[in-house]
């Protein structure tokens, strides 16, 4: 039987859909065109999930570049504190102070602003909106067999709230007093006292406004994703037949809906403290010798509220990447994902546990050590489902007929990063060891590897894999592989040494270390990290060039299903159309991972189960 479509009969898929699909009369009434009737509704206020996905992606890329450049500036400061930075004056203006000798240096306040903005931008704008926004939008309707999201209008609003959040944050970069500079976690009193530092005034106000818009965006998106997955699956697409991507996006959205509102509560209380004189988070404080009116507040309370979001947030970032990697590794190793159900259950377990471990970020804030024990135990238990997932990815690859292309390489790189960073998590999760490691570069190394770099790898795997679905063209493979090798070597070069810094006690968020004789021995290491960071950033530019070049000039897609994948998105026409399928909606006959079954390379989900076919035993 010809699964691999013979050329003249290019669209066997269409025949299957015509025969077994069902007719929802979507194309009878002409609402298809209402959505994309002119330039503005096609490219700006689009309500088509595929276009909204691209909007999220490209906006995310914009922010990744800004956020990445910021890190280079503060890395220069850390690696070469004595060097002349006057050449940055045209960009950074008054934040570079030039002394009589003509040597320019970075203003310390602005160093903090850069670190804060880098964290906020990367965590929220790039790895939340750019990752989950992009792929949830692109893949949920396509992979579950829906015409679009449950509410395309809300979906559009979700993007534009994200955009608005970006505009406000961008604007805050140009404030005379500078953007917020109290760290991405915005702990009081720096966040709650407008006079606490130069960024705590207008900068913090805009930071909060921006993030509230951002939360609105996440909630609008999340409500849509959940509703779409639960209500709009096509015939035959039972929950247990959903690709792991969909499971991951679905659970991610649920986590977001349960945790982001808590962040809003915290912001609201901060706002009251800031402008109406309440003392939720502010206790007796003296500024400039003057006692403030605030009494009896608890800054720890803020930390509880923040990390109740903050920890789930890290899984909001990593789960979509995990889903993408599961899919990419299975497709490119031509094997079913190993332990499908175990994968789903570990997503569920991670999601559940992520709500009861938040205080592992607060071991050193003076919380009761007996309460810490509770959090130590649950934190360490998270390692179990994480390990199950890692085992399953490796087992999926094992013995596979792996295609080593950019997508699968980044998938494999993800697994490597997740292992390296997960292991250091186990150190940090022990409250006793955390006494030494807390707020050092060890933590910075941990979360950049396990979350920052790993999530980027998941995102790259997804982009290389689904670029043809988005733009009908391929990205350049040679550049892609170069990008991969440069990035994985570079990322380890940047973050691995930080573990040593951290173990020696070098604190994070310090502007310079020359008054600490003990840290003098790390000067060379800091220089090495800075240089590695600059080179690694250069490799990302390679990706950006490849991306935009390929949109217009990339190799054209001629086969609808270039990766020979079994999921539904590859049964749609190459030129994405509104409503996704030109005629009927496909009906799903089997799970998403029939690769190498009964000696066949793959069997698409729309193919009915043959009478002589062996039974699925997943």
């Amino acid at each position: 039987m010809a699964n691999v479509a013979d050329k003249p009969l290019v669209h066997e898929d269409d025949l299957l859909i015509e025969e077994y699909g069902y007719d929802d009369h979507f194309h009878d009434h002409h609402h298809g065109d209402k959505f994309q009737s002119n330039f503005v509704t096609t490219y700006f206020f689009s309500q088509d999930h595929k276009m909204i996905a691209k909007q999220f992606l490209i906006t995310g890329m914009f922010w990744a570049i800004i956020g990445g450049l910021m890190s280079l500036v503060f890395r220069l400061q850390l690696g070469f504190p004595e060097e002349n930075m006057a050449w940055l004056k045209p960009v950074l203006g008054k934040w570079i102070t030039v002394n009589d000798a003509g040597i320019g240096s970075l203003a310390p306040e602005f160093y903090y602003a850069l670190v804060t903005m880098h964290g906020t931008i990367l965590v929220f704008f790039v790895l939340t909106a750019g990752l989950s926004g992009t792929f949830s939008n692109l893949l949920i309707p396509l992979q579950i067999g829906a015409r679009d999201m449950a509410s395309p209008f809300m979906n559009m609003l979700s993007y534009w709230f994200f955009f608005l959040a970006g505009v406000v944050m961008f604007f805050s970069l140009f404030l005379n007093t500078g953007p917020f500079a109290g760290g991405w976690t915005a702990y009081p009193p720096l966040s709650a006292l407008p006079q606490a530092s130069s960024g705590s005034g207008a900068g913090m106000t805009l930071w909060i406004v921006s993030l509230v818009f951002f939360v609105v965006s996440v909630l609008l998106g999340g409500i849509n994703y959940i509703t779409t997955v639960l209500n709009m699956r096509t015939k035959g697409m039972s929950m247990w037949r959903m690709p792991l991507t969909i499971w991951a996006f679905f659970i991610t959205a649920i986590i977001g809906l349960l945790s982001f509102p808590v962040l809003v509560s915290a912001f609201l209380l901060v706002t009251f403290d800031r402008s109406l004189g309440t003392s939720f988070f502010l206790s007796e404080i003296f500024i400039g010798g003057q006692a403030l009116d605030h009494v009896g507040g608890s800054p720890i309370l803020y930390q509880h509220l923040f990390w109740f979001l903050g920890h789930p947030e890290v899984y909001i970032i990593i789960l979509p990447a995990m889903g993408i990697v599961s899919e990419v590794l299975s497709v490119h190793s031509r094997k079913p994902i190993f332990g499908y159900k175990a994968m789903v259950y570990s997503i569920l377990a991670i999601a559940f546990l992520s709500f009861i471990v938040w205080a592992h970020h607060m071991f050193m804030s003076g919380v009761n050590p007996f309460i810490s024990n509770f959090f130590v135990i649950f934190t360490l238990i998270i390692a179990v489902p994480s390990a199950v997932k890692v085992f399953n990815w490796i087992a999926t690859l094992y013995g596979g007929n792996i295609r080593f292309n950019s997508a699968s390489l980044f998938g494999i790189g993800f697994v490597s990063m997740f292992i390296s960073g997960g292991l250091t998590g186990i150190f940090l999760g022990n409250s006793a060891i955390d006494i030494q490691l807390h707020d050092t570069y060890f933590v910075v190394a941990h979360f950049h590897i396990v979350m920052g770099v790993a999530a980027f790898f998941g995102m790259y795997a997804g982009i290389y894999n689904w670029f043809p679905k988005m733009y009908g063209r391929f990205m350049n493979e040679t550049l892609g592989k170069l990008h991969f090798w440069g990035t994985i070597v570079g990322a380890y070069a940047v973050f691995w040494p930080m573990h040593y810094l951290g173990m020696a006690g070098v604190p994070r968020r310090y502007y310079r270390f020359d008054s600490f004789a003990a840290f003098g021995s790390f000067d060379l290491m800091n220089q090495f990290i800075t240089i590695a960071a600059i080179i690694t950033f250069g490799f990302q530019l390679l990706f950006v060039v490849n991306f935009f070049y390929s949109i217009w000039k990339g190799k054209k897609m001629t086969d609808r299903n270039p990766w020979k994948a079994s999921t539904l998105e590859w049964t749609t026409p190459i030129e994405g159309i509104h409503g996704n399928w030109p005629g009927k909606i496909p009906t799903v006959q089997r799970w998403a991972y029939d690769y190498g079954k009964d000696g066949k390379d793959f069997i698409p989900q729309i193919q009915p189960v043959g009478a002589d076919e062996s039974k699925d035993e997943h």
């Binding site: 015939k235 309440t278 939720f280 309370l301 043959g610």
Partner: protein
């Protein structure tokens, strides 16, 4: 081709929009869960001014409960084609909703008059903020009610699926904010006793 085709097709009965509203309510609930657990955590830390919630908040609870009853009555009347009751009860609901807001305001003033101002102590600040955010959600419900009233009076009374759905959305939300207030009141009462 000899094949078995998937035939089972169970689409869940609930309308996606209604489902989405339920999800939105869940996330609003999380926000209040955060407020109330912050209250508990803060209370445990000491320096906590004890006071009794003014009676007006209890009276007000009756008002909002009554409004839930009237909006439900209006919904039943809508379904049974009793135009008069449908319209009148809906207007009653709106009036009760506005009365609730006005009485909450009175409640805040009563708080101030017993010396519990916004900034006096976190125990009072929490009451102001939590009931204030709740009032903001009531305001959203009032907007929905106004739209419902415009529909009730401007359109001829017909029970179409679209109109039924719209009414049900308003109904669910209004019951939700009502329930939310009851939860908050019980919470405050238990914490302050």
């Amino acid at each position: 081709m000899n094949a078995t085709v998937a035939t089972e097709y169970t689409r869940s009965k609930i309308h996606p929009k209604k489902f989405a509203l339920g999800v939105a309510c869940a996330s609003i609930l999380m926000m209040f869960a955060a407020f109330t657990s912050a209250y508990i955590v803060r209370q445990a830390a000491g320096n906590w001014l004890e006071f009794r919630l003014p009676d007006i908040f209890y009276i007000n609870t009756l008002v909002i409960l009554l409004s839930s009853a009237t909006v439900h009555g209006s919904y039943l009347a809508f379904k049974r084609g009793k135009t008069q009751a449908y319209r009148v009860l809906l207007v009653f609901t709106l009036i009760l909703g506005l009365a609730f807001l006005a009485l909450q305001y009175q409640g805040w003033q009563a708080l101030t008059s017993i010396g519990v101002e916004l900034t006096t102590n976190p125990s009072g600040s929490f009451v102001y903020v939590i009931s204030g955010v709740h009032a903001a959600h009531i305001l959203g419900g009032i907007a929905a009610l106004i739209v419902a009233i415009i529909h009730a009076f401007a359109l001829t009374h017909k029970v179409t699926p679209a109109r039924k759905l719209r009414f049900e959305m308003t109904l669910i939300y209004w019951h939700f904010v009502d329930f939310l207030w009851v939860y908050l009141l019980v919470f405050f009462t238990l914490q302050q006793s």
